[in-house]
């Protein structure tokens, strides 16, 4: 009997087009859109030599050292500048076509011409600042101690690096994965729609079909469990398809822990469905209102988990950590983040524990609300 109920429930759910759309097709479509929009963004903060033009004028001929310094910085393995020497009108054209970030007019004090503010422009300015700062320092020191000049010039000619870079992790720091993790969290919470459906089907005051099922000589818990398990099978399969699509087609990285990853998705699926059963049991309004509550919880949750702006997740974690811990979507996306960035850490277990706790809470509350109801009339 249980198997019969289960099989037919799976068949029924498969034929619910809108359910299949929102829980399977929509997340896949959204993942594709994210991929298209975000694939080029990760290269933004990677350094590439800054395009700069040096104006070929009389002042420049008078300062061969200035030109030489710039040329040195444009050479080597990791050049700072991509240098062009040209006349002013050509440089202005290049500037307007965004080929260079700015151009430099040599002089007693060099002048920088840019189109607007920006990091590249600030680096150019910083370089020129240093040139005049060094000159001012030398002038001041030599005026007090003329003998120091040779030593100063020697110290100036040695380009010493006083900074040593110390890596903290071998893991890639690609924040774009947060968008995909939050999307998986959303897909898990969309499992609530299955939960809604299952409660609607067995609560006699919610649908005529439920009224009919309630008179059948089967234990209500048995019917309900069969339905929920069918929903779990459907939802979990959908999530696996989503995960496989993200990983194999879109190339989203999830770390190297397959089993743990599946655990996150499985617990996430249970959490989503139980959230739906809970909402359906506790909200005594029409189905439209229940769906609205589900959508608000899952969309707001995934927004706070960084689905629309990845930095939101960090901001919440830093400033309002309690919201991060209470938000089921954050727990889920953080578990995925922990797997990807921290391997197998305590953070992963805390998140899984939080998700399991939520699932247990939702299931227990649902059970107490929907069990053994009697109706005088319907």
């Amino acid at each position: 009997m249980f198997l019969h109920n289960f099989t037919y429930r799976v068949k029924c759910l498969l034929r619910q087009k809108s359910l299949v759309f929102w829980t399977m097709i929509f997340p896949i479509a959204l993942a594709t859109f994210f991929y298209i929009a975000l694939s080029n963004i990760r290269t933004i903060d990677e350094f590439s030599p800054i395009g700069v033009a040096l104006i070929d004028n009389e002042a420049l001929s008078a300062q061969p050292a200035f030109k030489e310094t710039l040329q040195q910085l444009a050479e080597g393995e990791r050049p700072l500048f991509d240098l062009t020497v040209s006349d002013e009108s050509a440089a202005l054209e290049m500037l307007k076509d965004y080929e260079i970030s700015g151009f430099i007019k040599a002089g007693v004090t060099p002048e920088l011409v840019v189109l607007g503010s920006g990091l590249n422009q600030s680096i150019l300015k910083n370089f020129l600042d240093q040139y005049s700062q060094n000159a001012a320092a030398i002038t001041e020191i030599v005026s007090m101690n003329p003998e120091a000049l040779p030593a100063l010039l020697e110290s100036l000619s040695m380009s010493q690096n006083h900074v040593v870079e110390k890596g903290i992790t071998e893991k890639p720091m690609n924040p774009m994965v947060i968008y995909f993790y939050a999307l998986i969290a959303m897909a898990c919470l969309y499992g609530s729609m299955y939960g809604l459906e299952e409660v609607n089907r067995v609560q006699a005051n919610l649908s005529t079909k439920a009224a009919r099922i309630n008179i059948a000589p089967v234990h209500k818990l048995k019917v309900f469990t069969a339905g929920v398990l069918a929903a779990l099978l459907m939802h979990f399969s959908g999530l696996l398809i989503l995960l496989a699509y993200m990983h194999f087609v879109l190339g989203v990285a999830f770390g190297d822990h397959l089993i743990q990853l599946l655990v996150v998705i499985f617990v996430g699926s249970i959490m989503g469905i139980s959230l739906g059963t809970f909402i359906s049991a506790v909200v005594k309004k029409s189905e439209g209102v229940k769906i609205a509550v589900v959508l608000v919880v899952s969309m707001l949750g995934s927004f706070l988990a960084g689905m629309n702006i990845a930095e939101v997740k960090y901001y919440i974690a830093e400033n309002l950590p309690i919201i991060g811990y209470l938000n089921p979507a954050t727990l889920l996306s953080d578990a995925l983040y922990a797997l990807y960035y921290y391997d197998f850490s305590i953070r992963f277990f805390i998140n899984i524990a939080g998700m399991s706790l939520y699932s247990l809470l939702f299931c227990t509350l649902t059970y107490f609300i929907i069990r053994g109801r009697k109706y005088a009339s319907l």
Binding site: L38, S117, H162, A310
Partner: protein, 388 residues
Amino acid sequence: MPVFNVSMKIIKKNIPIMLIYIFVFVMVSMIVKGITGTDDSVSTFSDTLVPIAVLSEENTMITEGLIQALSDVATLVVIDDTRESIQDALFFRAVYMVVRIPEGYSDAVMNGNPIPLETTTIPGSTESVQVTLQMNQFMKLAEMYRIGTPDINEETLVNSVLEKLKNTTQVTVAKANPEAIQGDLMPFFFNYLAYSYMFIMLLGVSTIMLVFNRKEIKWRNACAPVTGLSKSLQFLLANAIFAFCTGLLLVILCLAFDARNIFKPNTLIFILNAVVFGISVLGLSFLVGNLVKGREAISAVANIITLSSCFLSGVFVPQAFLAESVLRVASFFPTYWYVKANTLIANLTHFDFASLSEVLGIFLIELGFAAAFLAVSLAVGKRSSQRA
């Protein structure tokens, strides 16, 4: 005008759902405005500051001086000195570099035997270049003063170095036209308008059409003493008013969020672009309304069409960051042309015919889309009415 009245009634009933998308627009605009700020003026240059964290293991005049020097190129963010906190901050770009000043650093500087500063960065990032330049410059100046004035004390050294760091270069901003638009906010708002506008129109128009296309109602209307032309015109009028009001509301919001640019000529052209886009979206909505069957499908179809066209066309992420192949596909959506026109309009500094010709060309393309959508939807509508 019974058809007109019913159409308006249906729209009124669906206002709460549509308001959600207006609300989304307002929320996103406020967040973006909060992040971007409004002080980015075209006529003056300001340094772009890099967020970094400094963890100092000693507190001396030299370390204080170094931190002050860093604050010229960076905003200092406070983070916990734990591995996880540093890793998280770097991952989410809350900081681009963590600088650790080791113990004994100041003594080492004074002895002429400096210990290197330890940095943890996002490997290869441009931001870290800027901060590294500044740290090296601070050290270089300190070293020069130490060599040049052997009996210098810590306080004088730091003060002299900081004094020298105040020497800055003159920066000129080319092409500063006071008539041109200020900042990137206005083009962003107008681009984002495409998302809310398209969604609301698709939802609204399809809902009305779904009612009128129901078989029983169609039959009933066919025997009503109102001519087909009158019905179509009333229907068109209702939808045009709907499109106009929605567009007007969104445009007012755009202007309200970036009030400093309201009286710029660019803004007027942005509005014209939104009007032309509205016409093409109206055409698309008619087509979709003729094709969808069932209420549940409307929301699914509207979501997919809106999100796909907005993601591909550069509404959420600028077109400059999208792949060539993606943009080629996107050019089959009016949204792509709308965003492209907005980008051009944002960069306009002259407003003669020659400068405007490219934008006007895009307006024609958008209108072409409207005509094409309308023609196809009429054909589809005719076929389905013959079937009914």
